[in-house]
Symmetry: C2
Subunit: 332 residues, 2 copies
């Protein structure tokens, strides 16, 4: 590989390769080596989660959200998936010369609104302005710190664990695609962009056996379950007919020839729950506003080879791989 | 103001206005309100500093450093200036499609080298790739967390405090300018890009009365002392003939019509020291490799109006304002 292609940022197999072969090897340390959504460190007797994400979504306003809301939700969800209560965020703006001040204001107020709603403080920031044409409108980085309330991790995953998702898949990626210029297909699809600490907290507080959580963003469910299967050394079975998806999203994916499991979500979490507690966990999620359509979509198995199998609607079974290319670039 | 101009990112008066009128008002909270280089928060009985910075420097390799080293040093220096020992960093990459893998590798290894040298861990990261032409090569965000070893702050600044800088000014901004395409002036000037926790630590460990520290990056010494004078409610006198600058830097500034005090540094710290301890502090700094050319360049006065005065070489006195425009865009 001589040049960076879009697929290196897709969340799929090339991203995984880049992270493992370059970043993790150059920066090598016990925190990064875990390749979780946040690093976990211990200081003065307490455990913290620490994460970062850059946002380059195009367009910056889309049905259900905007780059500002996305940047706050993204940081919060990366902390939540590590069992951490989000506390403090930072934000770095890179602005294109000539950007309208009104657009910046809308984005900033959207960030402020989401942060306030989630009871987190944006405590530090930075702004760079680059000449026109050197960046596309506005890019935002957020980093976040949270306090770990319950330690979860790949090493806790066991064969038999049930996999629950809190609702319909594919909505974020598809709504971004629909709002791209020149795309004339009409749909009521909206991004699921939302902060998930609330539903994570309700599960943790109920003492169900949560082993692992991960939000299936870039690369969708496919990328995340493949990473988890490799990281945990277990195989995973997903049951296609249990996977919640709106008919409009399924229909649009079919037209576009996209696999819904490869499409990014921004308000979904995959929960790996001890078998005994799975029904209880599903019941708790279904009572929350962001978990009404929750469903049990798969399970961890002891099958050798760390593979992900998709049990299809027609009764077949196929291997679900990492999405290799980038079906929809710049979705976050 | 209807559109963002380069000057909003200059570190000068328009940046100050944007931060105060938009960001600080939208995100309003006790941490951000202080407008320090890092936010300080207390968790479980310990005090932490938390900072973020994005780097868009052009070119990405320059004499004395590169965007990767700069990104690590920048985060470390923002923490150090708050009296905090840097512990953990995160990094977010935004890459342009088509970037050569070798360039990315050089940048990443440069970051890794500087982090290791400074004994900090890069614990989490994120990579986005955007289509060709939507970003200029590579932008990097770093955030950082440190443990506060000594609390310093604007409120500790007193009339009589001496202002010390650890060496020659203007080297970073000028070396960036010289390495821009089409610039044929020959010079041996190199960026001063360096991590400053080492010299900060040697001062803090010696128990001299350090009241405040700030690294004069964007907007140079001018922007920083003006912010400090407003923030502390004190006036500041700088003595032009005490300000260390290499003849080559002075000469180049004159040719270009630039005020050296407005030019960015990336390896300098301004120390505000209780008068009694100033000579001792200067002596300690001069014994460190990054403080050999340290000098006492000014003092805090009780003069009304929170103004910065420059006592010139020829015996005059003039007000030194915020740099208004951006003399050299994309220097960090």
């Amino acid at each position: 590989m001589n040049n960076i292609t879009l697929s290196y940022g897709s969340g799929g197999s090339l991203t995984h390769k880049l992270v493992v072969e370059l970043f993790a090897s150059a920066f090598k340390n016990e925190y990064l080596d875990k390749l979780d959504d946040s690093a976990i460190f211990r200081l003065k007797g307490a455990e913290y989660a620490y994460t970062t994400d850059s946002f380059v979504v195009d367009p910056i306003f889309f049905p259900g959200g905007d780059i500002g809301k996305l940047a706050v939700c993204g940081a919060i969800n990366d902390l939540a998936s590590c069992g951490a209560q989000p506390m403090y965020l930072t934000t770095g703006f890179i602005l294109e010369e000539g950007l309208s001040f009104d657009i910046l204001k809308r984005v900033v107020f959207s960030m402020a609104r989401e942060a306030r709603k989630q009871n987190v403080s944006i405590v530090a920031g930075d702004t760079k302005v680059v000449p026109k044409g050197k960046v596309d409108k506005i890019f935002i980085n957020t980093s976040g710190i949270g306090i770990v309330k319950k330690r979860v991790g790949l090493s806790l995953i066991r064969p038999g664990d049930k996999i629950i998702i809190n609702g319909n898949i594919g909505m974020h990626g598809l709504s971004i695609l629909l709002s791209r210029e020149g795309f004339s297909y009409k749909s009521t699809l909206e991004s699921d962009c939302n902060s998930l600490w609330g539903i994570v907290k309700s599960l943790l507080n109920s003492n169900v056996e949560v082993h692992f959580m991960r939000d299936p963003t870039r690369g969708g469910v496919s990328a995340v379950v493949n990473e988890i299967s490799i990281g945990s050394g277990c195989s995973i079975s997903l049951f296609e007919d249990n996977i919640p998806i709106k008919p409009s999203a399924r229909h649009l994916s079919e037209i576009l020839g996209l696999e819904p499991l490869d499409i990014a979500n921004e308000g979904k979490m995959l929960f790996f729950i001890g078998a005994r507690d799975a029904a209880k966990a599903l019941g708790i999620l279904k009572k929350t506003p962001l978990g009404r359509d929750a469903a049990m979509i798969g399970e961890v198995t002891s099958e050798a080879g760390s593979k992900v199998y998709l049990h299809t609607l027609v009764g077949g079974r196929k291997i679900l791989g990492f999405p290799v290319t980038e079906p929809i670039p710049r979705i976050c």
